[in-house]
Amino acid sequence: MRQLPRALLLFLLLWSGSAAALTVGSKRFAESHVLAEIAAQLLEGEGYAVERAHGLGGSLLAWEALHAGDIDLYPAYSGTLARAVLKAPELAGAALRERLAVEGLRLLPGLGFDNSYAVAVAGRLAREAGLGRLSELAGRPELRLGFSHEFLRRGDGWAALARHYGLPQQPRGMEHALAYRAVAAGDLDGTDAYTTDGELSVHDLVLLEDDRGFFPRYEAALLVRQDLPARAQAALARLSGRLDAATMRRLNYRVSAGGENPAVVAASFLAEAGLATEGAGALPPTLVHRVLARTGEHLQLTGLALLAGCLVAIPGALLLAGRPLAARGFLYAAGLVQTIPALALLALLIPLLGLGMGTAIGALFLYSLLPVARNTLSGLLTVDPVLLEVADGLGLTRRQRLLRVQLPLAAPAVLAGVKTAAVVSVGTATLAAFVGAGGLGEPIITGLTLNDQRLILAGALPAALLAIAVELAFEGLERWLLPAHLRPGQTS
């Protein structure tokens, strides 16, 4: 019995440290996800073990993760790096690459497409009127244009574009998704678009060439750490120039409208492009396998956090049991942590523990402290005072009294606290995916990103079942560990 916790700890440590792999990150949209999968599967084809940190919550988070070495690469866009990350919009091409090299990073040659703003017009109009360039819009004031509200408002949006090209039209503001349909139906002649938007591949739309270079370039390329093995960098460089905008639009469409798994889409691209290595990791795992793997990660996250929580909270409570003031302070602090929203706590921990398991476990650990410590303390302090006096009178030391009398009698309360912490942890651990720690939140967040109900359920359902299973497991544990008259709900 006494060896059990140590063995468990060792097991969990080995388990968590088992794969010292390369980690590919992606941001929270379908294209980033697909590109990351393509890179990951290519590396797997080269024999690397690859972990995925999909759905990182934004460019800065991905950048920080790469900087800290939590991930080894992610798909980036030149314009985003220059503007949003480095705050130096003038940087492009070789200058941008030099600046990144200073940071220990390498922007591989472009994948072959830009994901930037563009103006799309109806294909029929383009063919009939020979419309192919933005500058040609200047002579067509009668054209009915409709733009997304964001594009109309942005400093580098419509107003600047109209000035740059001398455009006379008076555009309307409308929902982006509706604008495509309106153009396709002939109710509108043109609208703003992202060049790789999957929707473009199904509607008859033509992107006008930015012939006077108004829109900044958002060239897609893999951003890697310079310490990534040279062989891996060489393998990834083979992707350069292999993905044109039309191909990317098609892949995006398969994911966002067709509901296909990004891993499947990535695999089929690699096969078409002749980049897939025979049989090596190109075939994505089945849904069941993925759910099982995620469930494993989920249990690992909650298990480690709970173990750490118990190892701190229970001895902590034992130490504090005789010091009411300190105990109150500890509970107050633990209660304060409890009030921090989970996402905020995760964000606070990233600078300390990095992206991934560490931060997720850290947050879950902090959340488990209060229920375990509070229950243990109240269990210790509500032991019948007559029993404590008898223990003193018989000649038990403080320590013996605590360990031989108070703790066993507090066991039901302790166990109830651990149960609460475990069930809450299983639920909260779904947020771990936001920091790339995997778990059952991964399919949920991916599902939300891709608007895929099946994926959401593939995460949410097992998470709910897991919570119930944990509850039942603890009830079993209570029956096994506690004598009948000390169990909750029993009177002695």
Partner: protein
């Protein structure tokens, strides 16, 4: 007053409010004898007992145990030479009867054989059935719980045994039986015993000396044999009332 005195209280005062429960108490308990402390509720009987093993400290005066002033805090080694049993037995509910009895022996590092031998001796003396040893306290009858409590208090061969109304909650027949067992125990191991009770009949049956607390003019000490002679026709309760009130008709 012959013989060594294991516990001596001199000038002891103890109280919580403006009126002390005990004041200027002069009292001694003799080695190897059973002394019953009787008196009405609230007269300070239980307080007196807790002063003897240092669970309470006197506000004034000294408590001397085994010839030495009781140190503060009382070391565990000294506590283990003073057996303690209380009302309702107060057994540890998570431990079997055997584990309750042997707890101190195990803490002292006794061998399994020594533990078993001591359990057997005590069990036989208090007439506790062998199959009761494996049971948890709530599975035992009230009388059995008291017997386990006595065994637990006596396990380490203490020099002093403090009993705080230990038989208050058992039925009269069982009580009479346990009384006999206690006397058998005492004959076997003549430990200095202080028994706090409000039951004069119990005091007269068990004690060599009866101390009456709470009467006017401080505690009165009576040899049992002298009291028995006085008892004569009087009921035990009447005798107690007479002693406490100090106003004999």
């Amino acid at each position: 007053m012959a013989g060594a005195r294991d516990i001596v209280l001199a000038g002891v005062r103890k109280g919580w409010g403006p009126r002390p429960v005990l004041e200027d108490l002069e009292l001694a308990f003799e080695r190897g004898r059973i002394t019953a402390v009787v008196g009405r509720s609230g007269c300070g009987k239980s307080t007196l007992l807790r002063l003897c093993n240092g669970l309470l400290r006197p506000d004034a005066g000294t408590v001397t145990v085994f010839g030495e002033p009781l140190p503060a805090p009382v070391p565990v080694t000294l506590r283990r030479r003073i057996g303690y049993a209380v009302q309702q037995a107060a057994l540890f509910p998570h431990l079997s009867a055997r584990d309750n009895i042997t707890l101190l022996g195990r803490l002292e590092g006794w061998s399994a054989a020594a533990l078993e031998a001591r359990v057997d001796t005590l069990r036989a003396l208090v007439d506790l059935p062998a199959d009761a040893l494996g049971r948890l306290p709530h599975e035992l009858s009230g009388g059995q719980q008291q017997r386990v409590g006595l065994c637990r208090a006596l396990f380490l061969h203490p020099g002093i045994l403090l009993l705080d109304e230990p038989f208050a909650a058992v039925d009269p027949l069982t009580r009479r039986d346990i009384h006999q067992r206690l006397l058998a125990l005492h004959a076997h191991e003549p430990v200095t015993t202080v028994l706090v009770t409000h039951d004069m009949a119990e005091a007269l049956r068990l004690a060599d000396v009866v101390v009456v607390l709470g009467g006017a003019g401080g505690p009165q000490r009576h040899e049992r044999d002298a009291l028995r002679a006085r008892q004569g026709a009087a009921e035990a309760e009447e005798l107690l009332l007479e002693l406490m009130g100090g106003a004999a008709p």
